[in-house]
Symmetry: C2
Subunit: 309 residues, 2 copies
């Protein structure tokens, strides 16, 4: 039972946890297939942003149909990096999210990681639960760093791409939309972006919701959203920004489900490692000279060796 697993671990921990002061929290939106074996740049950056050796990380594998395996994998990774504690919140039905131990760990933790799987499954289990409301609040207060990969990335917006196709002109039936977890309500995320040729479906989504910002994230690539409104790119691929702020026409409302979509005056940026974009002001910022391909270094000097965790 996942609850038992949590309770056993919680008994030995003090209730109140604080993010180390030097740590700058972020929401990390990862395009899937992030490196879990070699440099682990993106996952290591999450580890840093969750408090490094002071990190108490909750892994939520609920998007997956193999949550135990996937939860274990990430637990091992963050333990090897030296996190103080890693707990898998293996929520498999909505009632579980109301369990006091789950809520207690969300109060205690400094980082939450949402794995891949099926974004509809993840939202079905977590959306509108008090656990999720509390998590959202703590993330927005800057008390927790949040990361999601693949399905865990897809859920970040208020409007969510639940599925769709490729190899067609943009059209209304090319994308299935649903409601996400709304951690970054202004964006619509697509992941495995160039790897699975998803520009046409992101365009189809943006034509439906031209008040949002389209974010297409490649595999092993991360758009890291800081609380100051700035997104920074890290990893092997690109983050495509589709900004419909100047769009003055689309036929979306009039077009049949399979008819090709017109949309005029999109502003599109392709960003790669180190590029920075102010997603609230919708402008490119000068690249961060501190940015390195190996991911962020932790603000705390000491890193535990794998044996210590």
């Amino acid at each position: 039972m996942p609850q038992t697993d949590i309770m056993l671990q919680l008994e030995s921990q003090p209730l109140e946890q604080r993010m180390p002061q030097a740590t700058k929290t972020a929401i990390m939106v990862i395009g899937g297939a992030e490196d879990k074996v070699h440099g682990r740049e993106i996952l290591h950056t999450f580890f840093c942003r969750a408090g490094s050796t002071e990190a108490r990380i909750a892994v939520i594998p609920s998007a997956s149909r193999e949550p135990a395996v996937l939860g274990d994998r990430y637990r091992t990774i963050f333990q090897q990096m030296g996190a103080k504690e890693v707990v898998v919140l293996d929520i498999r039905d909505r009632d579980q999210s109301e369990h006091p131990d789950m809520k207690q760990y969300i109060e205690q933790c400094t980082g939450v990681f949402l794995t891949g799987g099926d974004q509809l499954r993840l939202c079905g289990l977590l959306a509108d639960t008090s656990l999720m409301e509390r998590l959202r609040k703590r993330v927005h207060l800057g008390e927790i760093s949040l990361a999601g990969t693949s399905a865990g990335a897809a859920v970040m917006g208020y409007h969510m791409i639940a599925g769709g196709g490729s190899g067609e002109s943009p059209n209304r039936s090319l994308v299935d939309m649903a409601t996400g977890l709304g951690m970054l309500p202004e964006i619509i995320v697509d992941q495995h972006f160039h790897n699975r040729n998803r520009m046409a479906r992101l365009i189809s989504a943006i034509a439906a919701y031209p008040d949002r910002l389209g974010i297409g994230i490649d595999e092993d690539t991360c758009a890291m959203f800081d609380r100051d409104g700035v997104l920074q790119v890290m990893g092997k691929g690109t983050v495509a920004i589709v900004d419909p702020g100047e769009v003055d026409y689309t036929n979306h409302a009039a077009a049949g489900a399979n008819e090709p979509l017109s949309i005029y005056n999109l502003r599109v940026h392709y960003l790669s490692h180190g590029d920075r974009y102010h997603f609230q002001k919708r402008i490119i910022l000068p690249a961060d000279p501190q940015s390195v391909k190996q991911g962020e270094q932790c603000p705390l000097p000491q890193l535990s060796s794998p044996n210590q965790s």
Copy 2:
């Protein structure tokens, strides 16, 4: 022998041919797989723009490794529509393009159609021949309508996408560039565009040549370039316009061959049937209310029945 075929047909024709005055010539850039069986909207529009029942059409199947079969197919189609004459210029080596009968037919014809196949093969046979120079001149004088589909579309720009991949972040090695026939030197064409998920390679091409305009054309879709600087879309899919006119940064020069490309501030339009774009001024124009999904009607009232041709 293709030459004999041409000579036999030319003997019975007067040397001087003029485009019917009501006909407005165009360069039609077709994304491949245009309808050849049912409505044939795009091919029928080419037939109209080549002079309708007064049209003398040259089909150049030289991109194809089966030029006789493909040439015959288009000859039959335009004959069935009622063209006055259709000749297949089956150029299989560069010397053939210097043959006087070839040159004579280029002087006489009112429309030239470039089939699909391999764009490098087509350019290898035709680029920098006097035949091609003369064709370019007559097209630019508005004496000939020109159409190209698939490989025949790819060659229209000065810079040509010769090949490439998909399923990757934009990067320099994702696209192979070559020199095209330069009929519309300011554009870089990609065809089978959404069908083969080619946005990333067109972006990679535009990052290399940000002074050009990227045009991604879907199958059974046509960007029809009029001599007044306006492009009009017809057909089943979209034409994506990638305008780098406001791009203020790309890492193209500095990036390694496989590194992801940054490119900031692209302006992108997705256009569908009836949409119009001024490709010289780079602005959207109001859609043409005359535009109909069934393609253009010919300016001449009488259409021959298939039996007459």
